[in-house]
Amino acid sequence: MIGFLLDPWGDPILVRAFAEVALLAVAGGVLGSWIVVYGLSYGAESLAHGLLPGLVLAALIGAPLLLGAAAGLVAATAGVALAARAPGVSRDTGVAVAVTSLFGLGVLLALSASSPPGLRELLFGDVLGLTTGDLMLAGGLVAALTGALALLHPRLLAVGFDRSAASALGVSPLLADGALLVALSLAILVCVQGLGNLLAVALLVGPAAGARLLASRMATMIALAVGLGVAGGVAGLYLSFHLDTAAGASIAGAVVVVYAAAAAVSTVKHHERTATRGLE
């Protein structure tokens, strides 16, 4: 049993993977909580998928992936914003068309003859292939992200709770949305490297959605989401190490299990509460 737990730690690759997963869980938990209460989960997924062409292009011309992801994000944001305004179609439809087109373009580029890295790594990331430099960069981004969101916490809370009254309170809903969008882009940048752009959304939305079911205050929800994310991420890595499954996919799978556990606990709590109320 002890061997089961300790074995992965002998391998520096896995130690770095654990550190990366912890960082991703912090970014995912803090930002994901806001994404979930603002109802932006779909938008987050759209951005994460829509940036693929940028990633692939960077791989093709040999530029840093982070740079490609950033360029891809800008393009995806512009595409999504434009598509959402398209007349005659619903917002969701417009966004879906834009994202699918961008994703398809990315795949097309990746399948071109001169594609060296292969599509798989871009879609699913490579949490086991990180250098110490990658980790430091991710650490810096996560620190900036967490600090900015902590600073903005009261204002994000006011806008999310009551958009119509926010401007009367001196908080601009537009600025709150903009700040979240920038933070989201940063978080996706961090997550894509470790988990790829298909699975990044799992750590961003899964733990926060689980925490939402259990917490009645935002600060509690954020702390819980970070905890659930770390639990899911670490469990996924162990799974991957012992069963020899793909790391990113194992983490995403574990996060889903963690969410299901949170949902189960919430259901039990809810039943207990209604039962006590019934007795009063």
Binding site: V37, L151, H153, P154, R155, L157, A158, G160, F161, D162, S164, A165, S167, A168, L169, G170, V171, R212, A215, S216, R217, M218, T220, M221
Partner: protein, 268 residues
């Protein structure tokens, strides 16, 4: 009764005001003044423009014509039933939001702000519920938390969107008492409501059905012809327990044609 005739400037003033979305006017010809210590009932059918008027007063929506002036801090107290109830905030969190108006953007509410929020919750009789999740409070308690937020914000004009809807008699009475206290503190209130009898107890009534129908003291304004013009011909007579005849408004229509009017809340 504290009144405008003390010579104070009005808390809100509209003259020939028109406003709407994307070239379509929702309200027009609106002309009224809210003095210190006045409660103004805002009557009208759903889609009659109450929400649009409030948005203009909050400065979220520009006037298409005419002029509107609000010289003081304005607080918005929206309906709480529609959503937000599962938003993870406590009563204290909501009251604390009122401090944001007074803080520079990088400052988080500190100890002093928390004390003010507690005092405001105490003033509305809810300090014991400070830690309770907002969504688990009763409808009347939620309205009182929003009033506490307006107090923390030190708003002098409060815009209340149907604060009495869904309240039981005891909660409604308590809220009415609280609004009277706010009037004594010389704060002004505009209260959207469908309850004509309640509005008769306030200082002024504004009748709004896309265009302004009337504005003035309830005794002058709340006549049968005016009410019928405000709501269309949806009036019935009912006999309350006192035996006197009262007017009541039939529930709003839900014809598809009217439907888009019902949603000016959602308009961009």
């Amino acid at each position: 009764m504290s009144r405008q005739d003390r010579g104070d400037a009005p808390l809100a003033l509209a003259e020939g005001l028109a406003a709407g979305y994307g070239g379509t006017l929702v309200i027009s010809g609106v002309r009224f003044a809210v003095g210190r210590g006045e409660r103004v009932g805002v009557l009208g059918p759903n889609g009659g423009g109450k929400t649009t008027l409030f948005r203009v007063l909050l400065g979220e929506l520009g006037a298409s014509a005419g002029r509107v002036q609000t010289a003081v801090a304005v607080a918005s107290l929206p309906q709480t039933e529609r959503s937000r109830l599962d938003f993870p905030v406590s009563a204290l969190d909501v009251a604390l939001m009122g401090t944001l108006a007074l803080l520079p953007w990088w400052r988080r509410p500190g100890r002093q702000e928390r004390r003010r929020a507690h005092e405001a919750l105490d003033a509305v009789g809810l300090d014991e519920e400070a830690r309770a999740p907002f969504g688990e409070l009763s409808g009347g308690q939620r309205q009182r938390v929003l009033i506490a937020r307006a107090l923390v914000q030190d708003a002098e004009l409060l815009l209340l969107d149907e604060p009495f809807s869904g309240l039981d008699a005891a909660s409604a009475e308590r809220l009415e008492g609280l609004l009277a206290c706010l009037a004594d503190e010389r704060r002004g209130m505009m209260i959207a409501t469908h309850d004509l009898e309640q509005a008769r107890g306030w200082d002024r009534v504004l009748c709004l059905n896309r265009a302004q129908v009337a504005f003035g003291p309830p005794a002058e304004v709340l006549t049968r012809p005016t009410i019928e013009r405000t709501y269309g011909a949806e009036l019935v007579e009912v006999a309350p327990e006192s035996g006197a005849t009262a007017l009541a408004i039939l529930p709003p229509h839900h014809h598809p044609r009217d439907h888009h009017h019902d949603h000016d809340h959602d308009a961009p």
